[in-house]
């Protein structure tokens, strides 16, 4: 890295350098510091001023977006009716527990065999601290939260063709990668090899920072010793009394880490949505849906499959049939319609909207994802491996193993997220298998990381999102081009119809997107109602 330039380091070049040295997430962090990254747009509980004067609204879909809208509109005096395809509320805000049945498209039926109080979230499972909308509803509705562990330094990074196939503790890989990079960079800086406009003063600071960041010794070396073991852990931890002396551990060879590509996952916990603190509802994600149902459950008509949405100058009329039988058509009418039906389903419904919204509805394919919950007869990850919550990442087709972030140290059974893949060939390939084979594969792959799978696995349940009858996919998979061309048309109120859901947000696949889109839609709708 020699060069002749002497100009002071520009912001862009500094960012680029941080990106090269510390990875994209460090660069992203720096960008956040510089105020270049986005922040939440939630501004506290919505205030809808003005009297709706008896206006009525029919809300289609009782997922998070629909529930938020119903809750807010009902409390300020709207006449609210809701139609929901399922026999429960929540949509993708969904948890499966022992005894629950899930029948997927194609007819395979699974009955969840989990023990009492154990659950698995086939949909969203974490809520970042800055998703202020969904968190505020948890607070207002009394949904108890507990920490979701994204980064567990004692969980594993695993690559099939590295380290002899043996999973590596995150603390080892992270400390060693960081230390080795810091050592290299410190060498370059101290020998003026960067030859770049870091001033003499900044050079000293940078060297000090690298020492601190990488746990380097006074000679800027990263090597076995107390300093590095204070990061990566010891060969033998310090103990008490006689023979309690710590034995430092030996860092992994840097070249082996590089070739393993497990560094690919090192920055995950630094991604904005994955930064601490992250939450999960105590007892399952659907506790949020249940809390809404306690407030406004009486407004929901379940098992209602919408077949047509028609509007004229004065009303919206929705036709629906019994979702279980396909028969007994009925209609509801209202002044307005808030439709949260996923676009993958809405694009097949007889819908009375103009070409711009219709084209937008047709422009968004639905992404693939698969998630598998596995019950084991004991919490071996805690008992044998001291892994309390968090996620192991692997390049096996299961991608990740999520340990329960609750009931630590309890004896007896536990449920692990045995696979979570999305937007990848693996997601389709898991979905294409019969559920029983999905489980078999997840157990076979997982056993390569935890041999205890072979003896302790009991049962599981596997959800391939393209097989979920009420959404036909996992999330609205916008492209930048499609968003440019269609997004505003999807958001616009068409006559008396407005759409909401994660697909009408800039946070696709997150519940916060559903909340914010719903609040935005009802704000605009309400302004129109009050003005009319």
């Amino acid at each position: 890295m020699t060069g002749q330039r002497t100009a002071p380091m520009s912001r862009r070049r500094l960012l680029a350098m941080i990106g090269i040295a510390a990875g994209s997430s460090a660069m992203y962090q720096a960008m956040t510091t510089m105020g270049l990254a986005a922040e939440s747009t939630y501004n506290g509980p919505i205030r809808l001023e003005g009297d709706p004067r008896g206006a009525s609204v029919v809300i289609l879909g009782a997922g998070v977006a629909g529930l938020v809208a119903a809750f807010e509109l009902h409390r300020i005096g709207y006449k609210v009716q809701m139609l929901e395809y399922n026999d429960r509320a929540g949509g993708r805000c969904w948890s499966l527990r022992g005894g629950d049945r899930f029948t997927e498209l194609g007819g395979f039926q699974q009955t969840c065999g989990f023990a009492k109080d154990l659950y698995f979230n086939p949909g969203p499972w974490r809520i970042p601290y800055h998703h202020g909308g969904i968190l505020d509803y948890c607070k207002r509705l009394g949904v108890s939260l507990e920490p979701f562990i994204q980064v567990n330094y004692n969980a594993y990074l695993h690559a099939q063709n590295a380290f002899g196939g043996k999973p590596q503790r995150l603390r080892h890989v992270l400390s060693d990668f960081q230390g080795s990079v810091a050592e290299l960079l410190a060498k370059a800086v101290s020998q003026d090899k960067l030859n770049q406009p870091v001033t003499a003063e900044d050079k000293e600071l940078l060297l000090a920072a690298l020492r601190q960041w990488g746990a380097l010794d006074p000679n800027y070396a990263y090597k076995a010793g107390v300093l590095s073991s204070d990061r990566r852990g010891y060969e033998r931890d310090p103990g008490g009394g006689l023979n309690g002396e710590a034995v430092p551990s030996e860092p992994l060879p840097f070249a082996e880490i590089l070739r393993s590509r497990v560094w690919y996952r090192l920055a995950l916990g630094q991604i904005y949505n994955f930064q601490s603190t992250i939450f999960q509802p105590v007892g399952g994600m659907d506790m949020i849906a249940r809390a809404f149902v306690r407030e406004i459950g009486g407004l929901i008509r379940y098992n209602a499959k919408v077949t047509a949405i028609k509007q004229d100058d004065d009303h919206v009329t929705v036709t629906y049939v019994d979702a279980r039988t396909g028969s007994t058509p009925a209609t509801v009418s209202a002044d307005w319609c808030l439709c949260t039906i996923p676009l993958s389903v809405l694009d097949q419904i007889d819908l009375d909207v103009g070409a711009p919204m219709m084209n937008a509805i047709n422009a968004v394919p639905y992404g693939a994802a698969a998630k598998i919950g596995l019950q084991f007869k004991r919490r071996f990850w805690e008992e044998d491996e001291q892994i309390y919550g968090g996620i192991t990442y692997t390049d096996l087709p299961i991608w990740q193993i999520g340990y329960p972030n609750t009931s630590y140290g309890s004896s007896g059974k536990g449920v692990v997220l045995g696979a979570y893949v999305f937007d990848s060939p693996y997601a389709y390939e898991f979905t294409a298998l019969p559920p029983e084979d999905r489980l078999k594969k997840a157990v076979e792959y997982g056993a390569q990381i935890h041999p205890q799978y072979k003896t302790d696995y009991e049962n599981g349940i596997a959800v391939g999102w393209h097989r979920v009858p009420w959404v036909l996919g996992c999330f609205g998979r916008w492209t930048e081009e499609a968003r440019k061309q269609h997004y505003e048309n999807l958001c616009a109120i068409d006559g008396r119809i407005v759409l909401a859901g994660e697909h009408v947000s800039n946070i696709p696949a997150w519940q916060e997107g559903a909340v914010l889109s719903s609040l935005d839609a009802i704000s605009r709708l309400h302004r129109r109602v009050v003005a009319s």
Binding site: G106, D395, T431, H466, W478, A509, W510
Partner: protein, 162 residues
């Protein structure tokens, strides 16, 4: 006389199911579960059974829930050279595009597989026609899809997902 697609699928399905009980070794023999970025299956029938089946089902019969997946069996549109290739490569409405996950030969193979018993096209001619169209459109689609904002591994960067 050609078997119907449905009947033929049942035979194929029975073979696959029988094979799959014998462990994960199937993964490397048919190309499935080998890459998180591209489908590695080469055989059209295998691609159908390990990918398309997710939605269109084992006998290409489709399925109905709140919305529906179209049956492919006996759909005459699919026999029009180019149509199926376009749909597979570029997607259609809620169906995702596969042009960035399958190469031209794979698109041609799976389209030929799905349409082999439909219409009156000669299979060999169809294959040639489909392949040339695939070459044209799946590349176009691949360029398009690399810009998807939700891709977890966009340009090697990991993006977040709930």
């Amino acid at each position: 006389m050609a078997k119907t697609v449905a009947a033929w699928r049942h035979v194929a399905l029975a073979m696959i199911v029988a094979g799959s009980t014998s462990a994960a070794s199937a993964q490397s023999s048919d190309g499935s579960f080998m890459s998180s970025r591209r489908f590695m299956q080469r055989d059209g029938e295998v691609i159908y059974l390990t990918v398309c089946q997710s939605c269109h089902m084992a006998a290409a019969q489709g399925a109905v829930g709140a919305g529906a997946y179209p049956a492919l069996a006996n759909d005459p549109k699919l026999a029009v050279a180019g149509y199926s290739v376009l749909v597979v490569a570029n997607g259609s409405k809620d169906m995702p595009p596969f042009g960035a996950l399958l190469d031209d030969e794979q698109v041609a193979a799976v389209v030929n597989d799905a349409t082999r018993d439909i219409g009156s096209l000669q299979m060999a001619d169809n294959a040639v026609a489909e392949k040339s169209v695939a070459a044209k459109y799946s590349r176009k689609s691949a360029r398009h899809v690399t810009k998807v904002s939700c891709r977890p591994e966009l340009n090697g960067l990991t993006l977040s997902f709930s």
